[in-house]
Every structure is written in C-alpha cells, then in structure tokens.
C-alpha cells in the first residue's frame, strides 16, 4: 500500500502552535461569541421573514394541496391535444407573434444604443448627470410591457402595432442599462493603447471599445428577443393579436385540448428560438 503514506492524518497542530496563533490573531482563530450570536440571529430572522411572507401570500401547504387537485382536473381536460382544424391559423398567429417580437426588439435596440452609451459612467463622467440618466432608466424600466400595451392599445387600437411599440418601449431602458454596464465593464487598456498612439477619442471608441462590447451587446439583444417572444404572447391576450389572442379565445370557451395544442406548438417554437440564439450567442462571444 503505497498510498497510505499520503492518506495518513495530517500532523496535529500542537497546543503551543495554537497559543502562538491566538497571540497573533485571537479573533481569527476562534469565532467571537458576538459574531456567532449575530450569525444565528440573522438566520432565524431570515426564516421568520420567509414564513411570514409565505403566510401573507397564502403560500401554505394546505393551499398547495387544494390547488394541486384542481390542476390535475385541468390537465386531464387538456389531453389529448387537438387543434380542431385550426392548425394553419395557429401557425400564422405564431408567426405574427414572432414578427412582433422581432420588430419590437429591433426598435428597442435602435433606441437603446445611444442611451446605453450616454448611460455609461466611462462616457458621461459627471456623477450627477450619470446618476440622473441611470435613475431615469430605472423609472422607465419599472413600467411593465403589459402596462405599456394596455395604454398603447387604447391609443392605437387593437392589433400588433401597439404591441410592437409596447415591446420597444419596455426594451429600451432594459437594454440601455445592459449596454451601459457592458461599456463600463469593458477593459480600458485597449482604448488606452489607441489613445497612446495619438488616436482621437472616436478612434478609441471605434477600435478599442466597440470590438470588445459589440458581441456582448448582440448577445444581450438576442436574449431580449427570446424574452420578447414570450412577452408578445402575453400582449396578445390583452389585444395585440397573434398567438396570445388565439389562446385567450380558447381559454374563454374552455377548449383546453386546443389550448394544449397551442401551448405545445408555442413551447416548441420557443425551444427552437432559444437553441438557435444560444448557438449564435456562443459564437459571438467566443468566436
């Protein structure tokens, strides 16, 4: 047994060594009682808050059990999935929803590009201005796509146009924040190198900053497209048309087998989109 030599117990720390270590840094060898109490109090506090919040939103084992049995009934009604002759219509609606997502994302990216630059600390150095810009992103980011859609559908009427604008308006502050952070986190050394050759600021941005951040931004935008495909379905329910509208119609008449068909078709589309965008993103970032 040659391995026994290395698997033997490590040499013990002697009492003298412990004494010396305690003399060097007593608080690091033994956790002070105050710290132990504080840690315990923190854990208890967090648990209490969690339980209180759970009860507050009625998230109790009893509610869960009750809902579960209803859910089972609901699921039973969904099978077997059935399009009831509406396949073409459903697929067209899926395509319309995808188109809405693409258009919304595109407009969002266009709007977010300049705002992202302006929102980066490295770009607008004035702290007060930077604070103002970034907090204004926060304010607009707090408005959900659904709220935009409800307002815009009143303004522009039922249909995908309001949905597209709603998606774009939701994306602009979200993407602007992500772009700004990508720009801020960009390693400044390449830009410094270009400034050191005598290059202008715009050259430093063009050759030092953009090649670094564009793949990141593109990846974030693709992710936003995935997310918008999901959002667009929800917007359809409130009147933007597309797959959401088809779903809503069938839920209203309790045609759950048709709902199941749509959901399966939709989930497949989402999976394909995620897969494709994942491929593109990994190529953008690593390629």
């Amino acid at each position: 047994m040659t391995t026994s030599a290395t698997l033997a117990a490590p040499p013990q720390v002697t009492a003298h060594q412990m004494q010396v270590a305690r003399a060097i840094a007593p608080h690091l060898v033994d956790t002070p009682l105050a710290v132990q109490i504080r840690r315990l109090a923190l854990w208890i506090g967090l648990s209490v808050i969690f339980v209180a919040l759970s009860i507050g939103v009625d998230m109790t084992p009893a509610t869960f059990a009750k809902g579960l049995s209803k859910l089972a009934d609901f699921m039973a009604n969904m099978f077997p999935p059935n399009a009831a002759g509406g396949e073409v219509r459903i697929l067209q609606a899926l395509a319309a929803t995808f188109a809405m997502a693409v258009a919304g994302t595109f407009l969002g990216v266009l709007g977010a590009l300049p705002l992202g630059l302006v929102g980066a600390k490295t770009f607008v150095a004035n702290p007060a201005l930077h604070f103002l810009i970034r907090r204004s992103f926060d304010v607009f980011r707090a408005i959900p796509a659904l709220v935009w859609a409800l307002i815009l559908i009143v303004a522009f009427g039922l249909g995908p146009f309001g949905g597209v604008i709603a998606l774009a308006l939701t994306d602009i502050p979200r993407l602007a924040k992500l772009y700004a952070e990508a720009i801020e986190n960009c390693d400044p050394r390449a830009q410094e190198g270009i400034r050191a050759t005598g290059g202008q600021r715009r050259a430093a941005i063009r050759f030092g900053l953009l090649p670094e951040v564009l793949p990141v931004m593109a990846s974030q935008s693709l992710y936003m497209l995935e997310s918008n495909f999901r959002n667009a379905a929800i917007l359809g329910i409130v009147g933007a048309g597309g797959i959401g509208f088809e779903l809503e119609e069938r839920i209203r008449i309790f045609a759950f087998d048709q709902v199941a068909w749509i959901v399966i078709a939709y989930v497949l589309c989402v999976m394909v989109l995620d897969l494709v965008s994942e491929k593109i993103r990994s190529r953008l970032v690593h390629g």
Binding site: T6, Q17, M18, A21, I24, L28
Partner: protein, 263 residues
C-alpha cells in the same frame, strides 16, 4: 523520488511534451528553463494532473500518479501544491479564506462550504501567513493586495496543503526584482527547512542559477539539458533558447556589437 517515464502530451497536432523521462529525488530544488511554449508549464500541470498524459507514466515514491482517480487524485493534488504566475487566488475572497482553501482536501462535511473551518486549521493558516509576513492582511480581499503579497498568500495556501512537492509555474514572472527575490528565498527556505521538493519554472536565468542546484532545460517539449548551474554554459543556453542569448552585465560589448549589426 518523483519519476517520469517517457511522458508525452499532445494538444491537437502540437507535441507539448515529448517522451520526457526524469528522476527527481525527494527534497531537491529544480529549476526548469526554456522558451515560452517549450512545455515547462505543461510538464508541471501533468505532474499535478491538471492535465493528463497521452503516453508514459509518472510516479511519486512508486505510487502511480497517472492512474489516480477520484479521492486519491484530489489527495495527490493536495500533496503537490501549485504556485502560479498569476497567483490564481479567488480575488474577492479574504486572504484567510484563500489560505484555508488549501486545507479543503482533508476536510469533510459541508462546514467548509459555509466558510466554517476548525480552529486548528485557522490557527495553522494564521501561522503560515505570519511566517510569510502576511498575517496583518488576513481579512483583506486578495484583489486589494500587490502582486508580491498575493504570491505570498498563494504560497501560504500551498503550504496549508501540507505538500510534499511544490510546483511553481513562473512564480516571479509578474513581480518586481525585490518581490521576486523574496518569493524565491521563500521557496528555497521551504525546500531546505521542510524538505519539500520544489520544481520551479523560470524565465530569469540568473535566478535559476542562484537558487536551483539542478537546472533542466526544455526546448520543443523535450529535455535538452539537465545539470548544475556550472554546466549551463553559453552554448548550452543558446541551444535551449534556439538563438544567441546574452547573459549578465559582462557581455555589454557583445550586445553593442549585435545592436550595430542590426542597425
């Protein structure tokens, strides 16, 4: 005795290490020199098993290192501590935790995952830090330290492993001469006082000559020199580096001649 028998490592079509055989008695201090890409780093990584050999075998006191798996493998990695050029510490963790990471291989349970280490290990970590003059930084984040300080923390982490071998991969390449000297002296002291075998990759020839009684030269994945600093004469150096290399301040005239030839 650390023994390598016809060790070969390929990355795609490149032969990083080619048919290398070596015998390194326990307790020795060996410097490995050679150009970037000569296979020095790969050699150390093969010994630690950060990468696996394609052919050949490595043994330590007869134990087949290249065949270890699972628990035995992580035990082996603890036995041969690595010291890296860029320190490879966890930058946002404090110094003490980074050092305590060196004790993970002998810890059990989930305690260490919650940063709960036994008082004995904490004492050991503090003693190692103190011995390297770093105990006052114990609660600082590693990323706030200078390069020389970080390398000393990394050495403390390695010592926490209670290693039998230390593999140092360009440990001083990003340090200023004063810090480089401190780190090399530390490695040398560890080698002498604790009888830990030290293998150190170096770019600086003068450092290798000064601190390593045995020097190994690598070129294109093969060992082209193995001897004492005295054996390492100018022509051998040129063979290792594949071109004429001027060493030391005594050769200033020669350097001037070469510069004029280029101009």
């Amino acid at each position: 005795m650390l023994e390598l028998k016809s060790v070969t490592k390929r990355f795609g079509s490149t032969q990083a290490v080619q048919d290398v055989s070596l015998q390194i008695p326990a307790g020795s201090m060996v410097g490995i020199i050679g150009r970037s890409g000569a296979g020095k780093s790969t050699l150390l990584r093969l010994i630690n098993r950060l990468c696996d050999t394609n052919e050949g075998a490595i043994t330590w006191h007869g134990k087949p290192v290249t065949e270890l798996r699972g628990k035995a493998l992580s035990q082996w990695r603890a036995t041969c501590g690595m010291v890296f050029q860029q320190f490879n510490l966890s930058p946002r963790l404090d110094v003490l935790t980074n050092v305590l990471i060196g004790s993970l291989a002998r810890q059990r349970g989930v305690g260490p995952m919650l940063k709960l280490f036994p008082a004995e290990e904490r004492a050991r970590a503090i003693l190692e830090l103190h011995a390297l003059g770093m105990s006052h930084t114990a609660l600082q984040r590693c990323c706030t330290l200078s390069g020389g300080q970080q390398q000393r923390v990394a050495i403390a982490r390695t010592l926490m492993q209670l290693p039998e071998i230390i593999l140092a991969d360009e440990p001083i390449a990003s340090l200023d001469p004063a810090n480089a000297q401190t780190v090399m002296e530390t490695l040398s002291t560890i080698n002498r006082e604790r009888n830990i075998t030290v293998l150190v990759n170096l770019h600086a020839l003068d450092i290798a000559r000064r601190f390593c009684p045995r020097i190994i030269g690598m070129a294109d994945g093969q060992i082209v020199f193995d001897g004492t600093p005295d054996d390492l004469n100018a022509s051998v150096v040129d063979a290792i580096y594949g071109r004429h290399v001027i060493e030391g301040s005594g050769a200033r005239d020669e350097a001037q001649e070469l510069l004029e030839a280029v101009a």
